[in-house]
Every structure is written in structure tokens, then in C-alpha cells.
Symmetry: C2
Subunit: 247 residues, 2 copies
């Protein structure tokens, strides 16, 4: 077992998460399970390199160098850039919160998000992961995911709100309709007061590479219009993906 020296440094970085963006040295050491003296030395090296930065308060945070290193990840390199203008058009046309997401294992990973000044209660943030069965983009991605993934997700449908779908049969039925109709919807299944519509984004070979979604307070009246807007956008993105170089 005995952790290698490199993995210790990585464990220190792993101690940071969305709820712990700034940590003191001792907290950092505790969370990484390292002696204080060891953590101190490693943190010093990470800081010197720019992976960590130190606030005036003395707390450590993820540094700029890691930030821009992360931007080189192919998660988004092309997709995000290709989609950006279309997300913007979509926002302009709908004034709804716009989401671009991909599947990462059995979760939805949000790779871009575009919100207005005031917005519906939305949980997602760029870089956050949410369950697939309770979000619009999640249902789309799940509907087009390989069978083993679908099986695993269906096996563990956790309840988030009173409206979350937790019966496998019912979700399966919905997924079938998502494939048939080309879009997915949710109604307060992830967050009360928030409904969503989502459509798949297809790559050059027709495979689903991402999902594009809108979050609105109420879906009843506008569904048709929103789906139409989404489809315009998704077709635009696919065209760019097919033509351009997107890694």
C-alpha cells in the first residue's frame, strides 16, 4: 500500500473539493491523511510550482497554473468552444439557464453553463457532477449510454425531491420516449421549482457526444418553442463539430 511520494502530493490536491476551496495547512494535512511536517513540505513544493496559492489569510487554494492546465483537458477543448456561440444564441432566444453536459461514468458532468441575472434555483455548476436520472441532460445521455451504464444507474435511483423518478420501469419507459421523440424533460425532479428540457448533441458519426439543456420555472406552455430552439442549436453545433477540427 504505502503511498508513493507522488500520490501523496496528489492526495493533497484531492483534499480540495467544491465545499472546500480554501484549506489551512493543518486541515489539508488531516484531510489527506499526512503528518503535518510532510504536508508542509509538499504543499511548499506545490505552491512554488503554482499548483497551489496562498491567500493573505494563510489558507491554501488551487493555483492558477492548475487552472489553465485543466483547460487543456480534452473534456471540453473543442466541444465547448464549438458550442459556445450557440449556447449564447440559445440564451438570447429563451432567457433560460443553458447547460452543456457530457456523461462521465454514471454521472452527468456539466461542462458549460450560461445563466442570466436572475434564475431558477439551479444546482449545477460548471465542473459539478449530478445524477443522471434526475436531470434533463442526464436523461438524454442515459438514453444513449451503453447498456452496462444504464443498468448500473437504474439499479440505484436515489430520491432527490418528492418528484424524482425512483422506479426503474418508469424511467426505462421515459428513456424509450427520449430516444423516439428526440428530447427529454424533467419536472422538479432535481430541484423544486425547476423544470428542464434537453436534447442530444451528435458528433460527426451521429453518436451522442453531449447533451444540451434548458432550465425554466415552468414547462407547460413553452415546451414546443424551447424544444425547437434547442434543436436549432444542437444542429448548429453538430455542423461545426463535423466540419472543424475538434480534437
Amino acid at each position: 500500500m504505502s503511498a508513493s511520494v507522488t500520490s501523496r502530493a496528489l492526495d493533497l490536491l484531492g483534499a480540495f473539493d467544491a465545499d472546500h476551496r480554501a484549506l489551512t495547512l493543518s486541515t489539508l494535512a488531516r484531510r489527506a491523511g499526512l503528518p503535518l511536517a510532510t504536508a508542509h513540505r509538499l504543499v511548499g513544493e506545490l505552491q512554488r510550482w503554482g499548483a497551489l496559492a496562498r491567500l493573505e489569510s494563510g489558507e491554501y487554494v488551487i493555483g492558477r497554473r492548475l487552472w489553465d492546465l485543466g483547460l487543456l483537458a480534452p473534456v471540453q477543448a473543442g466541444l465547448r468552444q464549438a458550442a459556445s456561440p450557440f449556447l449564447h444564441d440559445l440564451y438570447g432566444a429563451t432567457l433560460a439557464t443553458v447547460h452543456l453536459a457530457v456523461r462521465d461514468g454514471c454521472e452527468v458532468l456539466y461542462i458549460d453553463r450560461l445563466a442570466g441575472h436572475v434564475s431558477v434555483p439551479v444546482v449545477s455548476k460548471v465542473g459539478s457532477r449530478l445524477p443522471m436520472h434526475a436531470t434533463g441532460v442526464g436523461k438524454v445521455l442515459l438514453a444513449h449510454a451503453p447498456e452496462p451504464v444504464r443498468a448500473e444507474v437504474l439499479g440505484k435511483l436515489t430520491r432527490v425531491t418528492p418528484y424524482t423518478i425512483t422506479q426503474p420501469a418508469r424511467l426505462l419507459d421515459q428513456l424509450r420516449r427520449v430516444r423516439a421523440e428526440g428530447f427529454a424533460t424533467t419536472g422538479e425532479e432535481m430541484s423544486l421549482g425547476a423544470c428542464s428540457v434537453a436534447v442530444p448533441v451528435r458528433g460527426p458519426a451521429g453518436e451522442v457526444v453531449a447533451a444540451l439543456g434548458l432550465v425554466v420555472p415552468d414547462l407547460r406552455r413553452e415546451r414546443a418553442r424551447l424544444v425547437a430552439a434547442l434543436q436549432v442549436a444542437t444542429q448548429g453545433i453538430s455542423r461545426v463539430l463535423a466540419s472543424g477540427q475538434w480534437n
Copy 2:
């Protein structure tokens, strides 16, 4: 001298940049200045942790775990989110490429960018660093940077296009005007066919925390309108920064 074990792993990560997003093991080793066997082992650890991922081709790329770790960096955590809606308004009002940037050492670091479908030749990408003396946002940030930084930048004004300002005296004069007038402009100093306007973004205490800029093909006619639009946006951002929690 002798690099510590941690810093070797970091050097491997540092071998990636905007022009080298995917590297073979041997290239990686060469760029990091490490023996192949050593690089092989370290890369393996990084991959196991999720810092690196391997493509089918065998090449290594930055992994998803580093991507979302990077998103926790305070570079953008609040600023970017607070600014986002205003950037869209700005794009809507001007249809120009919109930039949000901060100063990182002696360079400009672009933390957000919003471009339309067609755009002027723009070099910047989110996460990229450009010289301060040849960009609009750079001039703004430089004008409000601490003296030692200004001195260092002025000492090395590299030429990018025929229009790049390389005389310290002339740049100093411009910086004075930037402070007095509250905005900076460039004319093809970074990229031929691209002009820019930029204004400072101020934090709660009035300090300059970022710069907001527009890139357009021609500046002559529209300058006044663009500056006005920028100022509306920058004031909105400052208001959000002052009120909300942005850290």
C-alpha cells in the same frame, strides 16, 4: 538543484501547453527532461489518479480530474460567475468578442471569453496568457499594476506586429491616459485587423481586480458607444462583487 520527486511529476504536467495537448510518453519525458523509465512510472501514477488520461492512440492528455480541480481555483470562482451575465449583455449590445482578464505576474491571463459565430482574428483563448503591452485589457491592468511590475514589463516590450508599441516612453504616456480617461485602446498591436477597447473592473474597495475588453475590426466610428457599453457592464459587475460573496 536536483529536482525533488514531486516537482518531477509537476514538470511532467508542465510539459503540456496550448500547442501540446496530447503527448507520447517519450516526448513527455524529453520535454520534462526525465529519463524514460522515470517518466513512465510517474505518468502511470498520474494516470491512476486521474490527472492524466490516455487516448486510444497511446498519447497522454490532461485528465478530467485536473479539469474540475482547476475549476476550484479562485481565479474565476466568483469573478467569472459574477461577470458572466454581464458579458452576455455586452455581447448582445455590441456583437464584439468580449474578454475578461486578470493580471498574472507580468502577463494577461484570459479568464473568460465570449465570441460570436464569426469574429475578428483573435489570438486569445480562455486560459491563455498574452503580453500586457499589446492588448487592451493588458494596458488597463498594467496601468493599475504595482510599480515593480510596470517596470519589468516596460523593460521588455517585444514586438508582435508592426503596430506594437515598443518605446517605453510612449507606452507610459498611454498608461497615464488610461488612468485618466478610464479606458484603453489598441489598434492592431497584437493581431492585424483587430482593434480593442478595455476598461477596469473594480472590487469592493475600489481596487482593480480584472479588465473587461472588446475586440472589433475597426474602432474609429464606434469607440464612444463601446466604451459606454463597457462601463455599464463593469459597473454591474462591481455591484455584484460588492454585494455578493465572491471568493
